[in-house]
């Protein structure tokens, strides 16, 4: 193994959350899929009309019903609970009746089942990327600060490693290794859901093999990989910025990272009444997420995660992508410079 690989390995020793957190999420998913209503709660439908508001037939779920299903799935949240209460009320007043998951699935047409399933798998990936993304954010923020805080930086600097290698290893972990972990964990999560869901379906007498539709599983896996590539490329400048803050900050890299753009946004608002800075921040942090949701609403019948891959590809081809990579290179060079020439106290 070469030196760079050891440097990367060292990051996984130090920041164990990178691989422990996805394992915890996977465990929760498995338990949830088998025992709870995590992915498919009881579905509420109107008493007299079908799932999509049309008379019952083989029409299956409408877009709204799918949205309903996916929102019921996350019923642990508080504001979702409120929604549930409302649904409960509607059900008790006789406007709606509650059907079991098995019944609901039986009512749903095969194509709709497919897209419903794709949403479940996309949500698994979304949750995993969200969790791992937060870990990646704090990893980048901490990576060049933690060893200065405990002064072990002097130990690392006593080894014949250049600061360029060190900073690049951390950049590599944040933009390549962590998204790769997120993709692999997402695919594992989808399989866990498929296995857990199958067990649950066996109990409620749902259609066997429903969870294992190869085109859905395959598409979802491709979606997770595409998402990893997008995150790696799109968030490269953000990561480089966080590394710079981490290398620079005398204390609290979080504040050093967050306050300058926040202050710039506020000053702009006060001075010019415009909000270009806020716009830029939103664009740089939320564009991939927006692209995903755009995909969800754009096309109806296709496998959703495939859409994600297609739609985020547009993002990758945009000029913002190229500008971002140039900015990432500049910020990274600045981070290396600060790491190299910062006067470390002994």
């Amino acid at each position: 193994m070469n030196r760079f690989a050891w440097l990367v390995r060292r990051e996984f020793w130090e920041h164990r959350a990178i691989w422990i957190a996805p394992l915890i999420v996977l465990a929760v998913m498995l338990v949830g899929a088998v025992t709870g209503n995590v992915f498919l709660g009881d579905v509420r439908v109107s008493a007299d009309i079908g799932l999509d508001g049309k008379p019952t037939g083989e029409s299956g779920l409408s877009e709204e019903d799918i949205a309903e299903l996916s929102s019921i799935r996350g019923a642990e949240d508080l504001h979702k609970l409120e929604r549930l209460e409302k649904l409960e009320k509607a059900a008790s007043s006789g406007e709606m009746r509650v059907v079991s998951a098995g019944e609901a699935l039986a009512m749903v047409s095969p194509e709709k089942r497919q897209s419903l399933l794709a949403i479940i798998y996309a949500a698994v990936a979304g949750l995993m990327f969200f969790v791992v993304g937060i870990i990646g954010f704090f990893y980048a923020l901490d990576s060049l600060y933690a060893d200065r805080r405990d002064r072990s930086v002097l130990f690392w600097k006593s080894l014949p490693l250049s600061d360029t290698e060190t900073v690049l290893s951390k950049f590599f972990v944040a933009v390549v290794a962590i998204p790769a972990v997120a993709a692999v964990a997402s695919i594992a999560g989808q399989l866990v859901m498929a296995a857990g869901g199958s067990i649950k379906l066996a109990f409620i007498g749902g259609p066997a093999g429903l969870m294992w539709m190869p085109q859905v599983l395959g598409g979802s896996a491709i979606g997770a990989l595409a998402l990893a590539i997008v995150c790696a490329l799109w968030f490269a400048p953000l990561v480089a910025y966080l590394l710079l803050a981490s290398a620079w900050a005398p204390k609290s890299p979080f504040l050093w990272a967050v306050l300058p753009p926040a202050a710039a946004a506020m000053l702009e608002e006060i001075a010019f009444g415009s909000s270009h800075v806020i716009g830029l921040i939103k664009y740089r942090t939320l564009a991939p997420i927006e692209a995903m949701f755009r995909a969800d609403h754009a096309k109806e019948q296709a496998v959703r995660s495939m859409d994600i891959a297609g739609n985020v590809a547009e993002l990758l081809a945009s000029p913002g992508m190229v500008i971002g990579l140039v900015a990432a290179a500049a910020l990274l060079a600045a981070a290396i410079w600060v790491r190299r020439y910062r006067d470390e106290s002994i």
Partner: protein, 285 residues
């Protein structure tokens, strides 16, 4: 012997204070040099400059290179222990050994393993679970296993008990020092290093106050335990320091004739600590 470190007009200014004020010195191969000075004298700044950790004015070469510009190249041949706290607390013993073995071309794993096997350090422990003494032992094991030309120690035994301190320097002298390596050490506990030093360097307020080999020091400086009735006479010989001991007055002389002194009392070599105090007081007035 070639000079390992060469400083010419080495200066470092922090704001309005001169941490180093145009310092000149050389350190040649095979020496064990003690860099001694009060707090804020500039010794840490000198160390940092030698290790390429800080910018400086004037000229400084370590192994023939500018340490600031070529830090990672010179670190192939230079090791340092800044003090006991610097090993990362989250790392496991096995991990840090593996990592240094993989990244340092001059690391000899068998030397490290052999040294560690004589301690109570467990391979699976994290550094944070080790005692302070064990952390120093671990760091020493790592550093001793590196076949370096220059070892820089900045207060390496800070916070250790006296047994550990003694053991640290004994190991260093018996197992590491081979007559070719060079060791530069700063410490406040002068008594513990003085018998292993070959050279002595005193630094005060950014300037070198004394730079001599231990042999030269012993030749040049003398300590006289003055007979009670000869004190006045002894004073006329111009001692650089006078100290009231238990029942006896001790005086330190710079370059006084031995024969003269021996008439007035017992002559010996001053301890480094006494000499240090004498020279620092002289420098202050």
């Amino acid at each position: 012997m070639p000079n390992l470190i060469e400083a010419r007009g080495l200066s470092k200014v922090y704001g309005s204070t001169h941490a180093l004020d145009g310092v000149n010195f050389e350190i040649s191969e095979g020496k064990i040099v003690g860099l001694i000075g009060p707090n804020g004298a500039g010794k840490t700044t000198a160390m940092k400059a030698i290790l390429g950790l800080t910018r400086f004015d004037g000229s400084l070469t370590v192994l023939g290179r500018d340490p600031y510009r070529h830090r990672h190249e010179i670190m192939q041949d230079v090791c340092f222990i800044a003090d006991v706290a610097v090993l990362p607390r989250w790392i496991r013993v096995q991990q840090v050994v593996d990592f240094v073995a993989a990244t340092h071309p001059r690391f000899r794993r068998e030397v490290c393993d052999q040294f560690l096997s004589r301690t109570d350090i467990k391979r699976s422990s994290r550094v944070r679970e080790l005692s302070k003494g064990m952390i120093t032992q671990l760091h020493l094991a790592l550093v001793m296993a590196i076949d370096a030309k220059l070892l820089v120690l900045d207060e390496p035994t800070l916070g250790l008990d006296i047994l550990m301190r003694k053991q640290f320097y004994e190991t260093l002298l018996n197992e590491y020092f081979d007559g070719q390596r060079t060791i530069l050490v700063t410490t406040h506990q002068v008594e513990e290093v003085e018998h292993i030093l070959t050279d002595l360097m005193f630094i005060n307020r950014g300037r070198i106050v004394l730079d001599a080999s231990m042999d030269d020091v012993a030749e040049r400086y003398a300590q006289l335990a003055v007979k009670p009735d000869r004190v006045e006479e002894a004073r006329t010989l111009g001692p650089i320091a006078v100290r009231q001991g238990l029942g006896r007055v001790h005086m330190i002389y710079d370059g006084a004739a031995r024969a003269e002194l021996e008439k007035l009392g017992e002559v010996g070599a001053p301890s480094v600590a006494d000499l240090f105090v004498a020279l620092m007081q002289g420098d202050r007035s």
